[in-house]
């Protein structure tokens, strides 16, 4: 996969900015040219005073300066408006497209890294990229400024101007290398900081386990180690930053010193006056700023490249420039009413060549219940995920009414198929929003779903009923309540196929019994594929499939399997 070049990316972001980009550029360039005027007026006033051409206070020029100041203020404000306006256009489209892209991957393999890490890319990498465009505008404007001021300086003293220019070029070249360095240091510091912060979160997220293990001392030692690394990385960056900063500031001093050397003869002859000194210093200030910006810009190319790669990495190789293309989420492809759903020769292969599941055939139809059972790591969850398309299939087909499913991510969805994972997650919204997921709220269906999930007593106990906020990841609910809320969420859509991954693990015996009892009446017309070890569930099943090391070890009714000794009580 080819990585998008930084320049292509910049171009796309400019286009994404649209008219706001053009306005921004215009404002910056005009502003910087206006900024030249005070330097020129100062020069005029001082020179006139020194040469005795001005014998009274220069009121007119002072009034002009005041007018220019007001103009600058207005333009500065315009800039603080157009800057973010231009930037957020790119940010929004990139964030939307990238999330859309991630959602279109097989769900289990969709995240390349921890969610926290991916969020940091959404936040930092996407947050920083559009700044480059604004910076480029600044540079364009500063170049215009520098060109005009160099012209004026050249008119004043050609030798001084030429001698100043040479070392400045050297500084830009030096900056280029320095910025690569600084980029590396910054990365190191960020990584070190990330590890410290992550470790705090991990430790206190698992504080009970740490205390229970009596591992406080080891954890603290590890924490100290990480802190030391971070301190070193930070100080190195500070030092290097300081060096670089000094280099640019010295550009002004160096330029000023060179100017003095070059013009002292002219000055003694009265050809280089106070105003000229003032103008040189004024221009050099802005020019050193240009150098700084240029240095940063050049240095950022490397950073830009890394940011782009990081985005392309979490976006599963989607070239970053395509983030700006139409990103509307593909619409669902509806399926006809279910007659049969067959899985044929299904296989999932891991990156290391091992098979997660292999050669699995099974058949579902309305009202038919198939239970998958087997040891830990036998591939039960993998099988369910593969049927849904959450894991890429290495071989095999999923066939709906005789038609092959070609795009499971857009076809095997509610209202056709519903799924509950082994450790379901709720989102920090109300229970209603968690169950409906933005769909229309139908009260009677909601009640039925809650009843089906044996949650009515819990809901009645909540002060705000179904409007209760569940907290981040559902922390305000117990483990059993989360599982049953997720079960209700699945029931709510009344789909034709249910895939249930061991939903009852955190339920007590009586609740679970009730859940499966109610299940019998609501599943009558539904095709069910359930991962479970519960005899109660297996005895309801039309067929029980025993998985071993990813392959079907035995299949048949629960009674048959008991009889043949494959399953025991």
């Amino acid at each position: 996969m080819k990585t998008t070049a930084p320049l292509t990316m910049i171009w796309r972001m400019m286009r994404q900015g649209g008219w706001w980009y053009v306005i921004n550029l215009t404002v910056v360039v005009v502003l910087l040219l206006v900024e030249l005027l005070p330097g020129l007026i100062n020069r005029q006033v001082l020179n006139d005073l020194q040469s005795k051409q001005q014998m009274s206070i220069p009121w007119l020029l002072l009034a002009a300066l005041l007018g220019i100041t007001l103009t600058r203020v207005v333009m500065w404000f315009a800039l603080s408006y157009t800057n973010p306006k231009t930037r957020v256009r790119s940010e929004n489209v990139m964030r939307h497209s990238l999330l859309s892209r991630i959602f279109q991957q097989p769900a289990v393999a969709a995240l390349k890294g921890s969610p926290g890490e991916i969020v940091s890319r959404f936040r930092d990498d996407i947050g920083e990229l559009p700044h480059v465009v604004l910076q480029l505008n600044d540079i364009i404007a500063l170049v215009c400024f520098a060109a005009v001021s160099f012209y004026v300086m050249y008119q004043i003293s050609a030798p001084a101007t030429i001698s100043i220019a040479a070392p400045l070029v050297l500084i830009v070249v030096g900056a280029r290398f320095a910025y690569n360095r600084i980029y590396i240091y910054r990365q190191e510091r960020r990584r070190a900081t990330g590890r410290v912060v992550g470790f705090i979160a991990e430790t206190f997220g698992a504080i009970q386990a740490v205390q229970v293990a009596g591992a406080e001392q080891h954890v603290l030692e590890h924490f100290d180690e990480l802190n030391q690394i971070r301190e070193k990385a930070t100080l190195r960056e500070v030092l290097f930053d300081g060096l670089l900063d000094a280099m640019f500031r010295n550009a002004v001093s160096l330029g000023t010193a060179i100017m003095m050397y070059m013009v002292y003869k002219q000055a003694m002859a009265g050809e280089f006056r106070a105003g000229d000194v003032s103008f040189f210093v004024y221009s050099l200030g802005a020019i050193s700023e240009l150098l700084g910006e240029l240095g940063i810009f050049i240095g950022r190319q490397q950073q830009l490249r890394v940011s782009i790669q990081r985005l392309e990495n979490i976006g599963h190789g989607l070239p970053a420039e395509q983030l700006f293309d139409d990103s509307s989420f593909p619409s669902q492809m509806p399926l006809p009413r279910l007659a049969t759903l067959s899985v044929r020769n299904l296989a999932v292969q891991w990156a290391n060549g091992n098979y997660g599941v292999r050669g699995v055939d099974l058949d579902l139809a309305p009202g038919r219940l198939v239970v998958i059972t087997g040891a830990v790591g036998a591939g039960k969850t993998t099988l369910l995920r593969a049927v849904l398309g959450m894991l890429p299939r290495a071989e095999g087909d999923i066939v709906w009414n005789g038609e092959k499913i070609t795009n499971p991510d857009l076809q095997l969805l509610p209202p056709a198929v519903a799924y509950t994972s082994q450790v379901p997650r709720l989102f920090s919204d109300s229970i209603v929003e968690n169950i409906t997921q933005g769909r229309v709220v139908a009260e009677s269906e909601m009640d039925e779903a809650i009843h089906g999930a044996v949650m009515e007593y819990d809901i009645a106990q909540f002060e705000h009923g179904v409007s209760t906020m569940v907290g981040s990841r559902g922390v305000r609910l117990s483990g059993g309540q989360i599982q049953r809320a997720a079960f209700a969420r699945m029931l709510y859509e009344r789909p034709q196929v249910w895939l249930i991954d061991d939903v009852s693990s955190a339920l007590d015996v009586l609740t679970e019994k009730k859940l499966w009892e109610r299940f019998i009446s609501i599943r009558a017309e539904v095709a069910c594929l359930i991962v479970s070890h519960r005899p109660q569930v297996m005895s309801m099943a039309n067929e029980v499939i025993v998985l071993k090391n990813g392959e079907i070890a035995a299949r048949g009714s629960y009674a048959e399997l008991l009889e043949s000794g494959v399953l025991s009580h």
């Binding site: 300066l65 100041t69 500065w76 408006y81 769900a107 206190f204 030092l239 010193a257 036998a378 933005g438």
Partner: protein, 584 residues
């Protein structure tokens, strides 16, 4: 408040006193930096004035140029050194505080931790401590440095011409007033913006973590729509924050421009009146450009200083939090002990108040080496009982005894190293398999780890991990629920405790694995005093005794066989009432 301030001062003293040499050096460097900074424009003005003077030699002008260059190079050196020394001192102090704070916090009892999220702990241990660093660098470098610079600028101006000095002083005071008044214009928008950003990114984090559920529910498009809404809110505050935030840099720039006009006007009047040289106008103009930013820095930093102080006060506050648990003195002997619950009543402490009791008057005795099965519905108090045995909390009344002593009499560390626990929810780190097993204890050899994994039947699992023991376990996906339980058992196996508690250890393990596990458990549990909590009756087969909890009270306690054979016992009823087949 006074007391708080005292502790605040103590904190600064404790962490900065060891750095006093660096701090003195820092102050010296700042003074040097300022002096050199003022000297530069002064040299330029001499250059201009000497050039006009007909008696000047070219050597004089060349010397000025040379001195100027050297001055500026030294100035940069001083400024760089000041930053470096300041940061070193700040970081060293902050990291020492971080370590102390982590040491303190990690030992606090669960009634504190229960109220905190990991995010808040990051803020307390990292964010607030950084404010100590900021406090220092801002107080000394920014505010201190700025005040010195302003004072010396005014001083130099007075030295050359008192009228210009008065003008400069008045301008500085007026600007300080304006900038202080305007400094907070943008803050409400910045805060709203940060809040909007926090909402956006926590939304994103939560949805990414739940991607499997979102896919299963087909709600991707819905999530994307909500993302757009959240982004639009963030954008609005971004823009408002930028425009209002513009005030903080536009006003100083405008003030600098106005000062230039004043200097030019007033300066030309003084020059025309013969009171100052043309070089002095040049110097004053350069000083004029210099003074605005320190004024702004003072106006801005005073607020940040307050924020930093708030952070430091939170640190002081956290440092003064005491664990509710008082450490004991008894060591635990290597003998396997009996465990006794003696009229135990417990209510969770909720801040200062106390909630309704979760356990009421629970009493039973477990002989040394016996296995007890603890049964009861969700919320009956089983998990709480276990937490008490671990002394994550202290009982409200009654006592829990291990061997001859009540829990508070033991050293906490000794207690926790002799009692092993496998909880319902296994907490895994985003770290390597090794670190997850050893909790970062480098002293445990790989051989031991592999032996533990083999004993628990995780050998095949380990062989599937791409980097073996060095494989980083992701928070979701890589480890199945059953495997996580086995890893938790491996942790306990490595610890070799004398009392073992299995809380729902087999909830997510299938029968076949459980059988394998039973064998492993025989090794792990052999001769240990054990409590097994299980929702499933199946798990209690190995028990010598059965305890049944209901609504926080002990409903039944007795020998397993006795209860099973007593028709009217609660245990026998439970066996008959539907879970029978699971026990058969």
């Amino acid at each position: 408040m006074n007391k708080e301030f005292k502790r605040y001062r103590e904190l600064l003293q404790r962490y900065f006193w060891p750095q006093r040499m660096q701090v003195s050096l820092l102050i010296g460097l700042i003074l040097l930096d300022n002096a050199l900074q003022l000297f530069g424009p002064n040299l330029l003005s001499r250059f201009v004035d000497l050039a006009v003077d007909t008696t000047t030699t070219s050597t004089q002008l060349q010397t000025i140029a040379g001195v100027y260059l050297i001055t500026m190079i030294f100035r940069q050196g001083a400024s760089m050194a000041a930053t470096y020394v300041g940061e070193t001192a700040g970081w060293r102090a902050a990291n020492r505080l971080r370590a102390d704070l982590a040491r303190h916090t990690i030992a606090l009892d669960m009634s504190y931790h229960k109220q905190q999220t990991p995010g808040i702990m990051i803020e307390r241990i990292d964010g607030d401590v950084a404010s100590l660093n900021r406090f220092f660098s801002q107080m000394v470098l920014q505010i201190g440095g700025s005040i010195i610079l302003l004072l010396s600028t005014v001083g130099v101006m007075f030295y050359y011409n008192w009228k210009l000095g008065v003008m400069m002083l008045m301008f500085i005071m007026l600007s300080a007033l304006i900038l202080t008044t305007l400094r907070n214009v943008a803050v409400p928008y910045w805060e709203a913006g940060r809040e909007a950003a926090a909402q956006l990114f926590s939304f994103l984090e939560e949805r990414l973590a739940g991607i499997e559920d979102i896919r299963g529910l087909g709600s991707s498009a819905h999530v994307l729509k909500r993302l757009d809404v959240l982004m639009a809110t963030k954008n609005r505050y971004d823009i408002l924050g930028h425009v209002y935030g513009g005030v903080t840099w536009i006003v100083p720039l405008a003030l600098a421009a106005i000062l230039t006009i004043l200097i030019l006007g007033f300066g030309s009047w003084l020059y025309l009146a013969g009171q100052i040289s043309i070089g002095l106008i040049v110097m004053t103009l350069l000083y004029g450009e210099m003074v605005v930013w320190p004024i702004r820095a003072i106006a801005q930093e005073i607020d940040k200083l307050q924020q930093a102080s708030a952070g430091i006060l939170r640190v002081v506050d956290l440092m003064s939090k005491k664990s509710r648990l008082v450490d004991g003195t008894e060591a635990l002997s290597a003998v396997v002990p009996a465990v006794t619950f003696d009229h135990v009543t417990f209510a969770y402490p909720d801040g200062e108040s106390v909630e309704a009791p979760v356990l009421t008057d629970v009493s039973f005795h477990i002989p040394a080496g016996a296995v007890v099965g603890l049964l009861g519905r969700t919320g009956s108090g089983k998990s709480t009982l276990i937490r008490l045995l671990f002394r994550l909390y202290d009982v409200t009344s009654g006592a829990i005894k291990i061997g001859d002593h009540a829990l508070p009499e033991y050293q906490l560390a000794a207690l926790r190293s002799r009692v092993g626990l496998v909880t319902q929810d296994v907490q895994l780190f985003y770290a390597t398999v090794r670190d997850n097993l050893t909790f970062f204890n480098r002293a445990i050899s790989d051989d031991k780890l592999i032996d533990a994994l083999r004993t628990l039947g995780l050998e095949r699992w380990l062989s599937q991990q791409p980097q073996g023991l060095d494989t980083v376990l992701a928070a979701n996906g890589a480890v199945s629920a059953g495997e996580a339980q086995l890893i938790a058992l491996a942790r306990v196996y490595l610890k070799q405790p004398q009392v073992i508690i299995l809380d729902e250890a087999s909830a997510r393990i299938d029968p076949e694995t459980e059988k394998m596990l039973e064998v492993a458990l025989d090794t792990v549990l052999a001769g240990k005093t054990t409590i097994i909590i299980a929702h499933r009756l199946q798990t209690v087969r190995r028990c010598d005794y059965i305890a049944i909890l209901a609504d926080g009270q002990l409903q039944e306690f007795g020998g397993e066989a006795d209860l099973r054979n007593t028709f009217e016992s609660r245990y026998a009823t439970l066996l008959r009432s539907g879970a029978v087949e699971e026990l058969a």
